[in-house]
């Protein structure tokens, strides 16, 4: 009936191995997140207490809602902390394996560097760099393909945002040299 059927197979040569050692369990992360949320709740709660948490003649002051919200957040995080400690299921669950973490870092670190580069080199230069380097180094794609794709994508973005829609993006030394 559908003789136009084509089989699509995409292999992923760099896929993480299934038997990689576990870095950390869900429980550890859950506990850490709960603790961080507790700290955040304390900081925000204190700031709102300084702003004023009383109930004026005209209703609550500026800090009233955020203050009680931070107490609710603290309460829920405490509950989460206890629940995470008691949960056997979470202790057994893997949060991330070493291979997975490596793969996540392969995207995260370039993204971080990209954000830094945007700040100093401008968005377009940074995005050219990110795409070309990522395709070449992580994807092991031929250098000319990587450079061409990066250039085309960056050029299209530049034309769409800066030229067609007048949305001003962060610029760096290169754009300044080109007089934009």
């Amino acid at each position: 009936m559908s003789n136009t059927e084509i089989e699509i197979v995409v292999e992923d040569p760099t896929a993480p191995e299934a038997d990689s050692p576990v870095v950390t369990s869900v429980r550890v992360v859950d506990v850490t997140v709960s603790l961080l949320l507790l700290v955040l709740a304390a900081v925000l709660g204190f700031d709102n207490w300084r702003t004023g948490i009383a109930w004026d003649s005209t209703g609550p002051q500026a800090g009233y809602f955020p203050f009680y919200l931070s107490i609710i957040l603290a309460g829920a995080s405490l509950y989460g902390l206890v629940a995470a400690f008691r949960s056997r299921k979470e202790a057994r669950e893997t949060f991330v394996t070493r291979a997975q973490l490596r793969r996540v870092m392969q995207v995260f670190v370039p993204t971080l560097l990209f954000c830094l580069a945007v700040q100093f080199l401008g968005l377009y230069v940074a995005s050219f760099g990110l795409i070309a380097a990522f395709m070449r180094l992580v994807g092991r794609i031929a250098l000319w393909k990587s450079l061409l794709t990066a250039f085309l994508f960056t050029a299209i973005m530049f034309l769409t945002f800066d030229v067609a829609f007048d949305v001003i993006m962060p610029k760096g030394p290169l754009e300044r040299a080109m007089g934009r």
Partner: protein, 503 residues
Amino acid sequence: MEALGLLMHGFAVLLTWKTLTLMMVGLVLGIFVGVLPGLGGPNGVAILLPLTFTMDPTSAIVMLSCIYWGALFGGAITSILFNIPGEAWSVATTFDGYPMAQQGRAAEALTAAFTSSFIGSLAAVLLITFLAPMISSFALKFGPPEFFSVYLLTFCSFVGLGREAKHKTVISMSLGLLLAGIGMDTVSGQLRMTFGSNDLLRGVNFLVAVIGLFGISEILLTMEERLALRGHAAGISLKVVLKVWRELPRYWVTLLRSSFIGCWLGITPGGAIAASFMGYNLAKRFSKDPESFGKGRIEGVFAPETAAHASGTAALLPMLALGIPGSGTAAILLGGLMVWGLNPGPLLFVEHKDFVWGLIASMYLGNVVGLVLVLTTVPIFASILRVPFAAVAPMIVVSCAIGAYAIQNAMFDIWLMLGFGVVGYVFKKIGIPLAPFTLALVLGNRAEDAFRLSMIGAGGDMKVFWSNGLVGSITTLAIVLLFWPVIERVFAGAGRLMRPAKA
């Protein structure tokens, strides 16, 4: 009929070459983001939203809603061909869609999916068309207490009806509300939680948060998993399409039931996911042959797709009329409306008739055009998946950064986006739901302002929330929903006690 006249006016607004071109562009972009791994409806709309800032609101919303339709269609393509649901509500579509594709009936399954999405959305659009005029007369009754009670209803229903662990929903929501409070407090004119930082002065923009939470974190998650794909690309021939359409009338009960479920659940928040599963399960329960479900039955594609799209579309009604988004994408569109200076709420139907009816008309047109477009271009879009992820990932990162920056022209927002990316990744993995967070970030300030304005108006008397029938019933309903799990248990308990007595 007033609605029809207004709708015709809406079509007149739309039928210009410029708008039609924007629709096509939106649909193609939408299908594109729907098919791409690591994107999908809300992410795609969030990333592409800044592109529309320089357009007039009507063109912008037409384009965005077309991106939305496109993403919905695109989600169906990957669910059926590759067993990858683009959105949570496409999950039910994979149950029968993927087996069909494996049996070499991919074309049939796709036609079924697209056609039923079309039917579902059409049902919901009809509903919106005829309910919208009623809303405008209802509009002026909304003062601060009414607005607050509606926001309360939304928050309570999330906590009460959510499936995740309650404390995690509460964490997610209170964190969102807190972040929403950063910056200047409108009611007192005081700064709070800014810690003397100029970047925190303007507060946390929810679009920046959404781009990070969904876009960046999804890339991290996708990377973590094995990316090997094995699927089937299918060309759709006219013969197959006609064959499926001839079969349609046989399933009219399923289609009607799913449309109804979808419309109903779409109006209540978070409905689309529930709707698709409910549509599927009910079709299965009422079927004469429930065993064949899950093995490639066409009805198993019809039912969830119709329901999901009916609810996805119906979700726009509470968003436009009350400012309450029924789905994640609707929440992002809501943020867009505010950027264009349109205040969603009952008065939108009074003050911006052109916009509202242009949008409703664009739903009709977008659906028809979208149906034709997807039926003809499936093989092209399916082949996008052959583009290596290593090329797609950095492009998505760049698009996210552009999107985050363009909202307020602030470098700080790019860092904020990155931070939210990490938060989103960790939260998704430890089961803290992101939807309540997003919702709280969008509505937090408005809810607080509405509450405090009510208090000023009423001289600090809480009874104002029960001061008339309208506000009283909404507030009461909100409290009922908040304690719904408790109430359900009591009823279930009572039910158990009753049954032996009857027997």
